[in-house]
């Protein structure tokens, strides 16, 4: 029974990773591709972490694995946000929708 549960969670993790990786390849631009990084860095590690937890029980192995997963779960959204921001700055020169100078010009009375 434990082996079946381990296999299920490992298979789930691999399936998510394969589909997300194909999604990264299939999307048109980097903005769309960022969305497919999140399942690889969140769902796959959690699924594999559960499998290791079932296999090893409460041990230093599962603790270190879950520490790594916890760090990835916290860091991944920050990294995705920073990546999108950097792509926008690279393309338009600023991350804001309207630059401050343009906003001032728009607010000036005619």
């Amino acid at each position: 029974m434990r082996g079946i549960a381990v296999d299920i969670f490992l298979g789930l993790g691999v399936a998510v990773a394969i589909m997300s990786s194909i999604g990264i390849l299939a999307m048109r631009d980097a903005y769309q591709r960022v969305h497919y990084v999140t399942p690889i860095s969140l769902l796959t590690p959690v699924s594999i972490g559960i499998a290791i937890l079932i296999q090893s029980g409460w041990s230093s192995r599962s603790a270190q694995t879950w520490l790594a997963i916890g760090f990835m779960a916290i860091a991944s959204p920050f990294l995705s946000h920073a990546t999108m921001r950097a792509i926008r700055i690279r393309e338009t020169g600023d991350w804001r929708l309207t630059l401050p100078k343009q906003a001032d010009q728009a607010e000036e009375p005619k």
Binding site: L10, S41, I48, F71
Partner: protein, 83 residues
């Protein structure tokens, strides 16, 4: 071969589409695909450690998880500056 090692091999196979993006895409696309590959590789390290039943090697995914965040920010910074 245990299920963990088979999963590690399959995860490495899953990296191939992202690797194509790294090789053929532009710099922003490559950075995004690199982040996906790095996350997969961290899990591969954990799976190898579990598959070969070596407790000491579980430190590698932990270090990897910290380092991919730092390396990702470095690439993002370079990308922001237009390199």
């Amino acid at each position: 071969m245990s299920a963990f090692l088979v999963t590690a091999i399959l995860l490495l196979v899953a990296v191939i589409p992202s690797g194509i993006v790294v090789a053929r895409g532009g710099f922003p696309d490559a950075v995004v695909a690199f982040q996906g590959i790095a996350s997969s590789v961290v899990m591969v390290l954990a799976l190898i450690a579990e598959g070969f039943n070596r407790s000491g090697e579980f430190e590698l995914p932990l270090l990897g998880a910290v380092l991919i965040y730092g390396s990702g920010l470095v690439f993002v910074r370079f990308m922001e500056r237009g390199l």
